[in-house]
């Protein structure tokens, strides 16, 4: 069971094909798989459908795949940080399926957990409910949402051991575990690969069973909104 690869390109070797469906972790630019995104840009794989809460920003994160027009369709909850996204979407070059944020996260988890559909009150009576089955439980209406099953998941963790057990740091966890779960193959990039046995088994956020290939690398970890207070305010 050799899961550790030398580079993002090697880790993605044999997994990419035009028209494929990718689930990506991250929220905004926090906890995004920077290195794997770069490698997909490099690969030139096109007509991608990507499930990701956001689509990066212009020129960074998944925004890079917009610039190269490799994305055919996004499943996202919020794409407001990205002028190129708007341009492609409004011109009809890019398809967009809005998913409420919690619905998107749960759809990923559901896919990973072998649940093809679940009911939620989120979006009832809104445009999100259009074309979806409505069922009443206890006199209240819910809509059917389907599990997401991706060809490949690209995710980012803080540390992983050689068997793929991994831990995330603070709010960089976000969509990474559910995205990892819903990929037929999950490729993970981390800041540090540690020897197996050095992570406490009670502290592992995502067990190695979900992680098929791992790479270690340097991350820019760009900050989207740098908000601070002055020491004297405290």
């Amino acid at each position: 069971m050799q899961k550790v690869y030398g580079s993002a390109a090697e880790a993605l070797d044999g997994l990419l094909f035009d028209g494929m469906f990718i689930a990506a972790g991250g929220f905004g630019l926090c906890g995004i798989p920077e290195l794997l995104i770069d490698a997909i840009v490099e690969s030139g794989t096109k007509d991608l459908t990507i499930a990701s809460n956001n689509c990066g920003v212009d020129g960074f994160g998944l925004g890079k795949l917009l610039d190269t027009k490799q994305i055919k369709k996004m499943l996202s909850s919020y794409v407001g940080e990205n002028a190129e996204f708007m341009r492609q979407y409004l011109s009809g070059e890019l398809e967009l399926e809005f998913n409420p944020q919690g619905t998107l996260a749960e759809r990923m988890r559901a896919g990973g957990c072998g649940i093809p559909g679940f009911y939620t009150a989120t979006g009832v009576g809104t445009v999100i409910a259009e074309g979806k089955e409505v069922k009443s439980f206890g006199g209240k209406d819910y809509i059917l949402e389907e599990g997401i099953f991706a060809d490949v998941a690209i995710v980012k963790a803080w540390k992983a051991d050689e068997t793929g057990n991994c831990v995330f740091r603070k709010t960089a966890r976000n969509f990474n575990p559910p995205a990892a779960m819903c990929g037929k193959v999950c490729v993970m990039e981390v800041e540090e690969i540690v020897p197996t046995g050095s992570l406490d088994p009670d502290h592992i956020h995502l067990p190695g069973i979900y992680v098929h290939r791992i790479i270690q690398g340097e991350h820019e970890k760009r900050i989207e909104q740098r908000t601070t207070r002055k020491k004297e305010d405290a």
């Binding site: 944020q101 603070k170 709010t171 966890r173 601070t228």
Partner: protein
């Protein structure tokens, strides 16, 4: 004189009860955190955190620690982190006592529109639809009218909805209204605002 942004936020903070877990939206709702005083309120950030702290000191920003508005923040002693599926599980499951959100339009039946202007603003709903469908109490904080002077408190929303019949209370610069059977009920007037002024600025039925 109508309330300003900070007064609206302070008034919204009065809605919160000791021990509550609360989600604050972007804009004026964010300011509510400044007015909770001694109350034991735990703020959720729906990207995966309970116990959201203030902005970091300059130079202490952590790219792995942001709120749902993508701003750098800090943690508290009570903080816990979790993934997005768990985060929205607690929202959808009614564990969050209240969400305080901004709005473009609210209707007298509690319908809320706060995520889209067709053909113009197509950013996405983020977590707003999950929040209004899941939390215990939805409190809207917004200006009573838009910049053209048109009422945002309507008989029916004209914009795509975020949720139907979800709003419990509306706090505007002119006062506080509750969604009740048959329309809206005036709970309170902003200092110096008359009932006539509020009624004149309101398209919705006031009962």
């Amino acid at each position: 004189m109508p309330w300003d942004r900070n007064q609206m936020a302070a008034r919204a903070a009065d809605e919160l009860e000791d021990g509550w877990y609360v989600n604050l939206g972007i804009g004026i709702p964010t300011l509510v955190a400044n007015y909770v005083g001694d109350k034991d309120i735990t703020l959720q950030s729906e990207n995966g955190m309970l116990g959201m702290g203030p902005f970091p000191f300059e130079g202490e920003e952590d790219p792995d620690l942001i709120n749902a508005g993508k701003q750098t923040i800090t943690e508290l002693r009570r903080t816990s982190y979790f993934d997005s599926a768990t985060s929205f599980g607690m929202i959808r499951g009614g564990k969050i006592a209240a969400a305080i959100l901004g709005a473009m339009e609210v209707a007298e039946n509690g319908d809320l529109a706060n995520w889209m202007i067709p053909g113009k603003l197509v950013k996405g709903m983020g977590g707003a639809m999950d929040l209004v469908a899941g939390v215990g109490r939805v409190i809207v904080v917004m200006d009573h009218t838009n910049k053209h002077g048109d009422s945002k408190v309507l008989k029916e929303c004209t914009l795509p909805l975020t949720g139907t019949g979800v709003v419990d209370r509306i706090i505007t610069n002119l006062g506080v209204l509750d969604v009740v059977e048959g329309g809206l009920k005036i709970v309170e007037l902003a200092d110096g605002v008359t009932e006539e002024e509020l009624r004149a600025a309101t398209q919705a039925t006031i009962v």
